[in-house]
Amino acid sequence: MSEQIGVLQGSAGELEARARRLRRLILDTVHRAGMGHTGGSLSEVEILVALYFRVLRNIDPGRPERPDRDRFILSKGHASAGLYAALALRGYFPESLLEGYDELGSPLQAHPDMGRAPGIDISTGSLGQGLSCGVGMALAAQLRPELGGFRTFVLLGDGELQEGQVWEAAEYAGALRLPGIIAVVDCNGVQLSAPTGPSLAPERIADRWRAFGWESSVVAGHDLGALVPALEAARHGAGSGPVALVARTVKGRGVSFMEGRCEWHGKAPNDEEYARAIGEVGG
């Protein structure tokens, strides 16, 4: 690819500052709304920063529908607060829009809606569907060279891997050695009501993808120094077949009393918790 619009340069320190800012925006958003999936939004922060500020090609906040852009699908659509904060930080819309999150008439619906908010490549909200949508985008990129061979990144939750449809998509793409598709698993180890358990340990998840014919590896999901090159390598590797990256993360990352706790799956902090949380994340 000759043109690489959308790849912002910057030091690792700048990326880390963006991650801190993203955490602060997430906490502001869910606290103000009084609802939201705080834990899973905080665990995906570095993945989103790496993608939106380094890895995704040809993304353009001024022209979100640009045909040759890399696509991003938040298959774990409930973690929308994280995505909206990342889009705001990247300039798709003003941060002030986050104030209306999940309110009547807001473009920022509880789950991402491509018909309402800019920068949403496809609507999600029912777990298990995003990878299949991504497979369709990768097929379109293959059929239509005029789209510039874009890549499609799909961010899944580890608990989401319990949905059988994920493995329908994995089987299809793996059997075909479908190029252009990258699955990223936010492996935070905790789902709504319990820890995910040993069958969803990162290495076992990586083995599953390999069994389905995908290239697969595990990466430290909060280490931008590891994550950016791993995502770049995945993007490159996807030229010849599907790639899965299992990101070892922590639910509620950055807020001590939220980390690793399933009660923070779908809850927003109250005033006192919010004050403590923003003190811890900075940004």
Binding site: S126, S132, A138, L139, L143, Q165, Y172
Partner: protein, 322 residues
């Protein structure tokens, strides 16, 4: 009934091939039923635009949505029972909610299921599809209309569900027939009662009307090739003109054409509506015609039910009771 014509599945498969050059954005996704739904015709003609998705309807529907988001117009052609129920959530979220131009072909709609019995008889697909916001639901009567409605589905900007039959059907419309979206077609005039039918049942309704005519009963026959958007005006006009509606559908009595008609006339011009179709029960194995007969869906049985309802209505009107 006239001599059987072409099966709708054949007409649908041929329509895809015919449309392909005019619609370079069109692709076809197949959950491993292409020889049954006749998308095999498209596979032979345009192998580069045909996707064998394996036995995975959910993945196929969402992959189609992903393709549609990138400017393609995909058809997913599968058995109606599994497309409408197994992939219902995928159609709801990735297709209907997004409004993307994914075109769904529910093949083997209703009873003629290739003797598949309860699991393969799609008698609730219209109800499921009708409940999806933004979904256009089409139920063509014969091969010519199936072909024309495949074109119609391509012409509308959003998603569509086209229900086609496996079996050969009598010809009602000629090859030049161009149905209008959302408009019922009057197949026969009448004033004593009106028979409202969908899909393959419209030919039976016409035969039932001929039987009634021999008994001096004038039955209007309306064909609803579009189930959604529903032609409420045609149904209400029939209610006002005739005072008795008999709906006939290759579907459960709840949720399909009969329900749509009741909803329409209850709001506009209430009248008695007799709904003929399958009961709230699973179908079973057996010859198609034996099962249609068991549930009163032969032309003779439709005529008898209509006549009974007319007598009952006239008697009640004469007595002045509600």
């Amino acid at each position: 009934m006239k001599a059987p014509g072409i099966a709708q599945r054949e007409a649908f498969g041929a329509a895809l091939v015919e449309m392909a050059d005019r619609h370079p954005e069109m692709v076809v996704l197949d959950p491993d039923v292409c020889s049954s739904t006749r998308t095999s015709l498209f596979r032979a003609a345009y192998p580069g635009r045909f996707y064998a998705m394996g036995i995975a309807e959910a993945n196929a529907v969402c992959a189609a949505a992903g393709m549609a988001s990138c400017g393609l117009v995909p058809w997913v052609s599968a058995f109606a029972a599994f497309l409408s129920c197994r992939a219902a959530d995928q159609i709801r979220v990735s297709v209907a909610h997004t409004g993307l131009p994914v075109k769904l072909n529910g093949s083997y709609g209703g009873l003629p299921s290739g003797r598949g019995g309860a699991t393969h008889s799609a008698i609730e697909d219209l109800a499921v599809m009708r409940s999806m916001p933004g979904m256009t639901v089409l139920a063509p009567a014969d091969a010519a209309e199936a072909r024309a409605m495949a074109e119609l589905a391509m012409a509308i900007p959003g998603p569509a569900y086209l229900r086609t039959m496996r079996c050969e059907l009598p010809d009602l419309f000629g090859p030049d027939w161009r149905p209008e979206l959302g408009r019922a077609v009057e197949l026969a005039p009448g004033r004593d009662l009106a028979i409202l039918a969908e899909g393959m049942m419209s030919a039976r309704a016409l035969e039932a009307a001929a039987i009634l005519a021999r008994e001096g009963i004038s039955a209007r026959v309306l064909h609803f090739g579009t189930i959604k958007p529903f032609d409420a005006e045609a149904a209400s006009r029939a209610a006002r003109d005739c005072g008795l509606l008999v709906t006939v559908e290759n579907h459960a009595r709840s949720g399909g054409l009969g329900s749509a008609a009741c909803e329409a006339v209850a709001e506009a011009s209430p009248c008695r509506v007799l709904r003929l179709g399958f009961p709230d029960a699973f179908l079973e194995s057996g010859e198609d015609e034996a099962i249609f007969a068991k549930h009163g869906l032969t032309p003779g049985a439709i005529a008898a039910s209509a006549k009974g309802a007319l007598r009952d209505t006239e008697w009640r009107d004469a007595c002045g009771s509600p």
